[in-house]
Symmetry: C2
Subunit: 320 residues, 2 copies
Amino acid sequence: MIGPGDIEAAAAVLEGVAHRTPVVTSRTLDERVGAHAFVKAECLQRTGSFKFRGAYNKIASLSEDERGRGVVAFSSGNHAQAVALAARLLGAGATIVMPADAPALKLAATRGYGAEVVTYDRYTEDREAIAAALVKERGLTLVPPFEDPLVMAGQGTAALELIEEAGSLDLFLAPVSGGGLMAGCATIVKARCPNARVVGVEPEASDDTRRSLAAGERVTLPDVPRTIADALQLRAPGVATFEVNRRLLEGVVTVSDAELVDTMRFAFERMKLVGEAGGVAALAALVAGHVEVEPGSRVGVIVSGGNVGADRFAELVLEK
Amino acid sequence: MIGPGDIEAAAAVLEGVAHRTPVVTSRTLDERVGAHAFVKAECLQRTGSFKFRGAYNKIASLSEDERGRGVVAFSSGNHAQAVALAARLLGAGATIVMPADAPALKLAATRGYGAEVVTYDRYTEDREAIAAALVKERGLTLVPPFEDPLVMAGQGTAALELIEEAGSLDLFLAPVSGGGLMAGCATIVKARCPNARVVGVEPEASDDTRRSLAAGERVTLPDVPRTIADALQLRAPGVATFEVNRRLLEGVVTVSDAELVDTMRFAFERMKLVGEAGGVAALAALVAGHVEVEPGSRVGVIVSGGNVGADRFAELVLEK
């Protein structure tokens, strides 16, 4: 388990390395929601998503010997880029196991950071097994995408910065995939703003954490969910992250792919933010009215990533 | 004329009102240019462009009586929204004279800020005459888009903040339309970094300041220039702004519409910035290699606005 001190320690590690991303406000958004929304723009984080925070915090903790042997990660994209850059900054080699159908921009960016990319078939192969084999064969250290206290703590620094800039919150919203971002953020939000409600957001097709909370235990979806939110395409929450989130979350709400596209447009036109589909999930829940919001209250929202190609964005907004 | 003290005074007026917009860096950009680029993201300014700075600084200087009668402005869009919001914040009514073919997003946003919009035909009618009539008939105060020392000084605060955050610059690039942004910025850049080169950027079809510098006097283009950079569609530089810019600028370079679209894509994918065509002109000149850059030098760039609809952005990037 992690506590607020772990997030504060991660903030010290990330000081001067991770970007202190802007907190963006919008009169249009506030009027639509009837509250004060503070949007933490992690799309403007290094590598285009919050994932850099956790990856750097983890790799910074490794011994010189471990860094010398190198690190490995599996990821649908954003964690890949994050590990690639963090490893490079810390002098470690990086091998990344990525789905062959990951967005071209994410594959290219990961290679661009100097990492070796090993691809696999998202629908038939087991990425964890591939990564485990690399750990064994090459002596690499695994940087898990969420199942690690240092990774969770690193991600939580996004919420810590948000509170430091926006002040106390009444409601906090973030997307949930493996649950690492939410576990880290919920830990610090509940410590700093004990009365704040914390609500997670998932795509309708990828609601494993929502189902798990309802069941009181981890539920695994039968198939890999099909959603435009490639960063949130996961079948089950993490073990450690779910332990944190089941205690701290009021619940999880879901958003449709159409609402994600509407919100990508809203973020672009009204807030001048580039958000990928999964990245705007929490904002989408707010804009679409899926979360109960106390009038005049203070709402913190994480826009978690902006790694979407211009062509893909164009196709999505014109299709609708 | 204006001096650096005017920009410093404007910064005090804007403190806590205008956003202190982020300065964005990009490894990809730096590698491409062979220098350190610091991009001031004025697309994240209130109303989506730097224009809020000058409009607020000007309206804040008016007497209570003048504010009570209200203000008027003519604008292709960004100045319109800026005056509308600044007037609202300062308790003044606003009437805005806008071209009927201005982007729908800009017309809607201006009305959304509570202003009265009067439209005209950009190719046949004289917007200055229409505004002058409103000044006479209704006792309104004109908020000029650039021909005003308080407006120029307000715009210059963008460069002041950039220098405060990025440190000393060797080269400064900004788009030039009427020249108010550049006049204010050049004044403070030359005061704080006396050896810095200051270069303006215009669309190929709208190179009135480039021609004016070459001729040594203000040149008026025969026709309204046709370019996708609607914010930079002007036939002649201002009188006062040209007096400042002719003394401080090394020169003006031009960029094609195709280069503007390439750079909108680059800003979106690589920097997660929403830039309108005119807004990315200075970045386009840098990316396309139209400006000589000393290897390893420090380059300040203004991305001046992000008011482009998602559909328009999508059409532009898919057409190419």
